[in-house]
Symmetry: D2
Subunit: 410 residues, 4 copies
């Protein structure tokens, strides 16, 4: 047991930290200004394009990882455990991961293509995604059913000759509003009557410009539209794609989802730890810059307690996430399932709570557009629902623990 | 002691409830659609104008109250205790209080004018406000200081011959983006060197179209701009108004603020209880309409516990608010100060917590524009900062209690 | 609606408060000293006997109430709503309610006898209980089953000629260690195979000295044995009592339990509010008497916040309890069931939390025998389990609320 | 970074786990029975003496460690990081650490003697302590001042010729009731007027049988006397010891306390994690053995959530404690101060919360003498006060973090 990061990870942490300070932090606001106008709302802003080029030139690109395929993609060759603190640093600014081509849902989609795609699928979609030339969407959740139970999903994917025909309604299809989004991964049922509920579903590749793909509206989270990525409601009406767009094979959708969501959850945790850490630092800064009732906030007992408690909570959640990453590296995503779920239970709630404390210390500025706090809160809060609500993970972990008499192997 | 509402209150509760069901609930969304276009963003939407006319015709108008002046204005002649449950019903929809001319910041501003205004000030501004013809803004919080400690406020109000000249920067001036907003109440320092810090400040009436009043930008709370009311940042640059615009007299600003904020806080509490109750009802409805993992949410243990706990918390917070209102009626706002503070401490946090539970049960719909929940959360969360952050009220109540050995008279 | 207590209640509050200050508070410790010696552990201490006589002389006796029977017994003729604040005052010292013959389990047992007993049963047992000459025990919970679900209870009550024969094992039979305890009310099954699970059980009167009643050991709660009352484990082995000892009739046990537990729960709530209020006052006193790190605790931010939050929580829980009491008075115990459950959910947790804060402020003294805090914490904590654990009440209230769409009538 | 324990630690974990299962668990209750009789209350029970001999024979003895001296004492040569999981296993039963001569306050006292004692002091007291032949007490907290601020301590240690004379009143002198307790380490002021408040105090060795050492009474924690160790109130009245009993030198008491308390705190954390883990396992076992309302507790949603949340909290707190231990090993106790404080803030509260959930699931059994839960709760709760209350550590960590802008190096 050892709490020191590897030299490789430390070196990349330094380089990414430096890049963030030099290139990203100074333009945090500029990004939102470029996105603001109605006309260019869902266009990738120029500043992001510039930063992506720069990061790629510096080799800070595609640092995420997934098994052996990941090793090929990731010239740094990081393990999950090594990547986690790097991703935390990227996560400090909400839009920064894309600078390094490490943003959702593209990372998850690239992993799906790398792990489960055919050669042809990889050439057509994975290559441009890895190069950051196009973006992608992930279309799973449906408005009409409790999608927290994925077996409820109703979108129909029907074989018709050499094609599949897709009919359904999805929402919160993250990434799909962006002009550069060219490909959607859609989950739906190919065998709704299959007795094994976990074999009813499939995932299929749907180019966004396929006839019948109709973007109904962008969904808001609290008041945010998350432009330029967006997460729209989409109707799929007799959308026809060739049979070779099927991923892995009919009935394998649930299996792919499990494979995709594990790392995805832990990546969200890493980013959220970055958000929480950033919020803690803002709290500390604010506390020395403001005075009320005769002394700086920094000298007020309840402010100090909020700060100390926040530190304790971040430190613990970070270690849990690192332990989950380590287990993914050593024993695989499946064996790490319970630790991933534990991190997914803990981290978003922790981040939301700490950001909320930072908001309180910032007063009106905290809820406004003048800090990253309100947006970060909404991100953290959303992840308590996204990729499975807390309750689902709690029930799963609880059930498993009871089976094992309360003892979960490290 | 008696937990039955008066006949007068019950009758008005019925009428307002009926009005809400028949006229307001069916157009809840229409309101937001009419506000949506960029061009008419800060214009009072037609549906609201229609509903105001209707409510006024039915005598459901200006039901709020403040002392004897209030009695004259309020043809129903309600006490605070009688008004509270009526306001709760209005509060169930975020924009509904204005339908009854019972919305912030106008209610507070009308009370200020009624209680402290001269005859001339009342005729010029109070009368059109009471008739709902114009709207008003309240300009107190400043971006550059911890405004939670009102003695920090720096806006300068300087006597110059027969005028006052105002220089300062304010933000979150609620109501001031609206096209119908004609008058601002501005707080600032007329005597920055006065040894008694509570005599340094004054409140003054500033017509919004006075030269030098410059609206810099609308502030967001989370992603919302709260159109059509807004709460902009405003720069006052050599803004000149006649001396008779002074309210009550130089150095009385703090006194007016105290008089204004007490009832204002309790009115927010009443509305927020309405929001929380509405969220609880939505939770119950959702829980019977959605099924996950083989049974309706309604039959899942943690959902039932969330619902039961929410009921217990609302019931308690409501009683505390009613008790504060009762004390205001019997002993005056000053004597009720600690109970008002207690309600202000309890209710916004309670409402935010319960709305958040409802969001969780609604999944992605809960954070989106498809329910009132995300907006309501932001309102509740904001009030934990607005009108004095929790910490300020906790410190004041704690100090007072210690002085009294823990015994606060009913 | 009105938050002023009735004159009758106020007058009794004054008298009981005066009695407590003059006669009970000065001997709080003496009581425990008299109970301490092994030899006289379960003997009613002399000081308690003296105080009972005095309270009875002053008419501060049997102030509790239950419907019309209660009216006869209670010469003050208090309603539940009037009694609640009186009981809160008695509750400030853990052993004080017995001074006024208002202690558990005797109050509940007296109510059972008054409401459901035959003339003969009342003469034999109710009269001496009302006169405070004997004490009683209540024997329901069993060690071998989850007694939170009362249908699990297994004690057998079998008809045999003119007798009933009782076999079973009970524990936490409150009151049964006391030397003056002469009568036990025992719950068990007369019809274990009855299809209606709520008609299987009966309650029966068992004189403690009946052959076959064997006290196995006294149970501890945390480190306390609650002498001189105790709550032992008892084995009933072929215990034979005459058939006329049956209460109300075979199969009516569940009905009696419901009738008994409603008021019992609310009485515990009243006492616990007294404990919490007492703890709050001790917190305030301690905070001005101790200095750490250069200033009195009273000036430390987090201490003030703890105190203010405690006040807010007590105030709310008290109002909820009073509202439940009022509903019991106006509409009966059954109609008030959900409000009683709400108070039962809220109050013990609130009291435990506040007492725990007081313990923290008192440091080592707080956990020791030198304040009432540790004992009071244990009482509050126990009531989160006793008379139905939180979870059972939450589930019941949640289920009922869902059925009513979230709206519970006052 | 690596989350695998060293081979040396794993091997000792296995051996201690095996010893606990084979020798300690089966006699958990027997220990309390042997301690029960009034006459032998503070005598080391036979079973403990037997187990100590056995553990020593097996080399499971003195496994704790402190710097280089520790290395000598600890034939296993464990680091803090290696020792932590071993101590967790011992901590599962409250009285088990003494079996391995790893119990408080002896461990801390042995470390003080090893690190700061003279050769003569070590021969006289350390040797028999290491051999488990005698026991010791630690006498610091005083009833009359807020001892959370150690500069408040008032006990006087006055030089008089070749002696020191001690006058003062202490309480919660842990270990001092035990018949085998021969030596007390007493903290007091040798220089009450020294301007540097951290140089006023000294620590001195006082044989328990010195004239003038008067044990006033044993203190209770929630009804428990913690026999056979106890933590009495002691009056020191003109207690005279030779000057060579001074530890390290006059004015070094604060320094020793810091050196003693750091490892002491982390050892309590390790034990408490063992308690929490044990409680979690009991929760799981109970949940499958009890049925209520038609299904096992194990299938009830809120039980599963309690269990899952408990796992997440234990896992996080354990990692934080391990990280603190690792930093102690790598950079020393002083550099690890903030992480030790963080663990001290987190772990006792976590343990108390989880044990409390286990109590709730056990119902009446949970508060009784029939499980270890009630005692374990009291231990965890006490440590939220002992060795510095939460508030003191929160304030220190908060202050330090603010100074560092929220960034604490690993």
């Amino acid at each position: 047991m050892d709490f020191q990061h590897s030299a490789r990870s430390l070196e990349l942490q330094d380089r990414v930290r430096q890049f963030m300070r030099t290139h990203v932090e100074p333009v945090e606001e500029l990004y939102y200004e470029q996105v603001k106008p109605e006309a260019s709302r869902y266009k990738t802003p120029q500043i992001l394009q510039d930063l992506k080029r720069l990061a790629r030139e510096q080799g800070l690109w595609n640092l995420f990882l997934s098994g052996k395929h990941g090793q090929d993609l990731n010239n740094a060759g990081l393990t999950n455990l090594e990547y986690a603190p790097v991703k935390e640093i990227m996560g400090r600014i909400l839009w920064a991961p894309e600078v390094f081509n490490c943003s959702a849902p593209d990372v998850g989609n690239m992993e799906v293509l790398a792990n489960y795609g055919t050669k042809a699928q990889q050439e057509r979609w994975l290559t441009p995604l890895l190069e950051g030339r196009i973006r992608s969407g992930f279309s799973m959740t449906e408005p009409q059913v409790a999608s927290s139970d994925a077996t409820n999903i109703q979108c129909a994917i029907t074989r018709d000759g050499g094609d599949y025909v897709i009919n359904g309604r999805k929402w919160f299809t993250s990434g799909a509003m962006n002009e550069d989004c060219e490909i959607l991964i859609v989950m739906g049922k190919t065998a709704p009557d299959e007795p094994d509920r976990h074999r009813q579903q499939s995932m299929i590749l749907v180019p966004r410009n396929t006839p019948g793909v109709r973007i109904v509206r962008d969904m808001l989270t609290y008041g945010y539209d998350d432009a330029p990525a967006g997460h729209p409601e989409i109707v799929y009406e007799n959308v026809r794609v060739p049979a070779e767009n099927m991923l892995l094979g009919e009935g394998r959708g649930f299996e792919i989802a499990q494979g995709r969501l594990g790392p995805g959850r832990i990546h969200h945790c890493m980013r959220l730890i970055g958000c929480a850490q950033h919020a803690l630092e803002l709290m500390c800064q604010r506390s020395v810059s403001r005075t009320a009732f005769g002394k700086p906030l920094a000298e007020q007992g309840s402010v100090r307690e909020d700060i100390a408690n926040s530190f304790c909570e971040i430190a613990q959640a970070r270690l849990l996430t690192l332990q989950a990453a380590d287990k993914m590296d050593r024993e695989g995503n499946k064996a790490a399932r319970d630790l991933i779920a534990a991190a997914k239970i803990v981290v978003p709630g922790m981040a939301a709570r700490i950001i909320d404390r930072a908001i309180q210390i910032h007063g009106a500025a905290g809820v406004s557009q003048d800090t990253f706090l309100a947006r970060a809160y909404v991100y953290a809060r959303f992840i308590r629902i996204g990729d499975g609500p807390d309750q689902v993970h709690l029930a799963a972990v609880g059930k498993e623990l009871i089976k094992r008499g309360g003892v979960m192997t490290g």
